[in-house]
Amino acid sequence: MNYSDTDIRKHRHTDGKPNLRRFHQARWDEPVVMELSAEGERGILIPEAEQAVRDAAANVYDTLPSSMRRKNAPALPEIAQNRVLRHYLRLSQENLGADLQVDIGQGTCTMKYNPKINDQLAYSPKMAELHPLQDESTVQGILEVMHEFEKIIKAISGMDKASFQPRGGSAAIYANAAVIKKYHDAQGNTHKDEIITTMLSHPSDAACAKLFGFKIITLYPDDDGYPDIEALKAAVSERTAGLMITNPEDTGIFNPRIQEFVDIVHEVGGLCAYDQANANGLLGITRARDAGFDLCQFNLHKTFSTPHNSGGPAVGVQAVTKELVPYLPGPLVENDNGRYYLNDDLPHGIGKVAAFYGAASVVLRAYAWVMNLGAEGLKEVAEIAVLNNNYLMGEVLKIKGSSAPWAKGKRRIEQVRYSWEELHRDTGIHSEQLGLRMADYGLHYWTSHHPYLLPEPATFEPTESYSITDMDEYVRTLKAVTEEAYSNPAIVRSAPHNCPIHKIRHDNFDDPERWAVTWRAYCRKHADSSNG
């Protein structure tokens, strides 16, 4: 963008690109919420029930079995509403959340913008006040939404049936592994005890398969960055139960031989599960079924624009071919002459992978998002995500010390795993240190899953949500930080300077003496340090 000399906005740009931000994060010495508790303090005082109600209800505690009654009240914090509000607002100011910054630095996570109107739909009483134990006849609306959205997932994947039960990406991968296990058990294939995956597929593919007793065989990328097909041929055998693979992997490189992979595994009687975590560049363009896959999963919180809740309500949709329908987790949403119902009669199914039938409000958000876009719009999402990513790659690769290993000169799908190997060699600065310095300018930056297969990795994924100005801001900041690495490495090495938490000591996470995942453990292990 070029601004004329008289334009009020011109001081915010140099050479048509946004300037570096002057940023400083708020710092609050805010304690853990449990510490705020004051005995007797209340957020809300519930009025006493009228006598007639009390008479009718009698003592509700008497209706609970004595084994299920607490002896002591739960140790919840006792805090007034305004203090709770202040607490969480302060914490939010110490974060670099997705709604606060250009969040393209958290590659692989598909941090697209989630339209707030979809949240409003989910928060409306029509949705929020439903209860999973209500009679089916009273929840026909949300069942219809789920049934309709299943049709959309079937169209996008080419599969025959979908279940919304899994509560997130890894839960759906877990369900995939369970279906593979159940299928082979049903066929009497007791010798099939090996699952093949790749080093750059999500680590959950290996981890979930292992939970079912499978042995895991992992393939490395070949010199072009594709999963090594020769290694697959060396790994595959009569013992192969299945292939669990992402495509494109987190490098953003699409494996053009994916169908051959599937064929090789099918030849020995294995099933192929497509981990569609990276589907954002493929919507309406390629389909799991067309490459021969037997099952797949989508993450509604990534590709379908429902919020990433870091463990909160989420849905991983599992979709399968008709041969595998009997093994799906239940209940499934069915339609009988216009009446929707939940089908739990799945004697061969893997059972439940979560309570009830999944997070219905998340399905509603995803459904609203897709219906707003339409089929053409959905394809455009993929096209813009790919266009954005390749624009960004072109700009990042102009920065001294950067590279995009493998597949030289080729375009990527929706994300790129970069390497700062050269910058590190020249300056001694590590990729993590660049990330901490980026935070000084108000931008988030992520490296890669561990262990690092590429030296000094970084992963960016702009999705379709960010504009060219957003991407230019990110790249300009990245360029400035790398220039600092060359000219003033000390300032990068000692970053962040503008954030409330300086550096997090990761060794605490590995030390049972210091980690604390409950308030009680925190009090026990850190009483000395908090008093001192």
Binding site: F214, I216, I217, D228, A234, A235, P451, L453, L454
Partner: protein, 382 residues
């Protein structure tokens, strides 16, 4: 980057002719006169001359270069065998065994003569001599010939050294500081294999042709090594003779089997019992002859370098490998060791190109309990 100069570039060449002497006979090194005598008695042979000839034969440009070297086995012999001219020669007494002070004196003389690069054949001991004598005054390139080759100053193979040297002569490669490491004997006495950093030499570097320094195992690696040991111990078959190679990963297996094995040698194990500890090539061969069941080799790779065979385990010679059979090798390595190779293949440099070729391809590596990774093995012959 080498400067463009009008007169031909001069390169220094120093061979440690006794390098590698102690290897196959199981002595873990060739430093010191007593060790060298024992190695000879056991039938050991130095590899410096033979490895250097291989490097010189693979030079693509030798015309525009002037070679300064040492008399006899410390350089001149190899240069002549390769059909090249040694232009100036540093005198070495032919009446005694060459010593580290000869190496250092020759290196200092070469610096005075204004060489652009010193090529040496040897191991970590020789690299340390170069470090003491020249420091960062001129770049240095190592031809791997010793038993301990953990420093980053070495090419991955003699032929790779030839390629690096050619590119240095053409001025198409840059030099950077590379670690000079040697086995830390203090740590070894504490039952840990660890390389100690002695300093840095300037070395022409190419990711695929230079080997990188051995990396130290860390604590979380130990947890992974225990998981590997659990898996491997469960997969061991009765009446099978297992050759278990050196390293921290295999040490965890020995710990699991409650065997008091050697940390940097090869041990023989059968039916969960230690048959022989820290054996030489000859002892391995006679044990294979005497054993009436299958034989399997369990080895790990060197962290940071990826060498499976040809570094640190010369007792497992080409003949031993031929006798075991190529399908009977199991590799144990932690995922972090493999990923730290950043896509470089596992390497074999046994000294026999036939054996190296047979070992090339894809090999399953046990990386944890019920976990394997299929990894590429390459003969290091470019």
């Amino acid at each position: 980057m080498a400067k463009a100069i009008a007169k031909p570039m001069t390169i220094g060449l120093i061979i440690n002719p006794v390098a590698g002497l102690g290897g196959r006979v199981g002595l873990k090194g060739s430093d010191g006169i007593d060790i060298q005598r024992r190695a000879r008695e056991l039938g050991g042979q130095g590899r410096g001359v033979e490895r250097t000839i291989s490097t010189l034969n693979s030079l693509s440009t030798a015309s525009d270069v002037e070679i300064l070297t040492c008399q006899g086995t410390m350089g001149e012999d190899a240069v002549k065998t390769a059909g090249l001219n040694a232009n100036v020669v540093f005198p070495i007494s032919p009446y005694r065994q060459p010593t580290p002070s000869d190496t250092m004196a020759a290196a200092r003389w070469m610096v005075e003569q204004g060489v652009s690069l010193i090529v040496f054949a040897g191991g970590d001991g020789t690299a340390r001599n170069l470090l003491d004598a020249v420091g960062d005054q001129v770049p240095v390139l190592g031809i791997p010939a010793g038993v301990k080759v953990q420093s980053a100053v070495f090419a991955i193979s003699p032929k790779a050294a030839g390629e690096l040297l050619s590119r240095f002569i053409q001025g198409s490669i840059r030099c950077q500081s590379s670690e000079v490491m040697d086995l830390d004997e203090e740590e070894l006495r504490q039952q840990r294999v660890s390389a100690r950093l002695y300093g840095y030499l300037q070395t022409p570097v190419d990711r695929c042709l230079t080997q990188g320094a051995k990396t130290r195992s860390n604590t979380s690696d130990h947890a992974s090594a225990l998981a590997i040991a659990e898996e491997m111990a469960g997969a061991m078959c009765p009446d099978t003779l297992y050759l278990i190679g050196p390293g921290m990963t295999t040490a965890a297996l020995k710990e699991k089997l409650r065997i008091d094995g050697s940390l940097i040698g090869v041990d023989l194990v059968c039916n969960g019992r230690l048959i022989a500890k820290d054996v030489s090539e000859r002892e391995i061969l006679s044990a294979i002859d005497a054993h009436r069941g299958p034989v399997r080799l369990l080895i790990t790779c060197i962290g940071g370098q990826g060498f499976l065979l040809g570094r640190g385990n010369p007792q497992v010679s080409p003949e031993v490998l031929n006798r075991i059979g190529f399908g009977r090798i199991t590799v144990l390595a932690t995922t972090s060791k493999l990923t730290a190779l950043h896509g470089k293949p596992l390497l074999v440099d046994t000294g026999s190109s036939h054996v190296d070729r047979m070992l090339s391809g894809y090999i399953p590596v046990i990386t944890g309990y019920r976990e394997r990774q299929v990894y590429k093995v390459s003969d290091s012959l470019l």
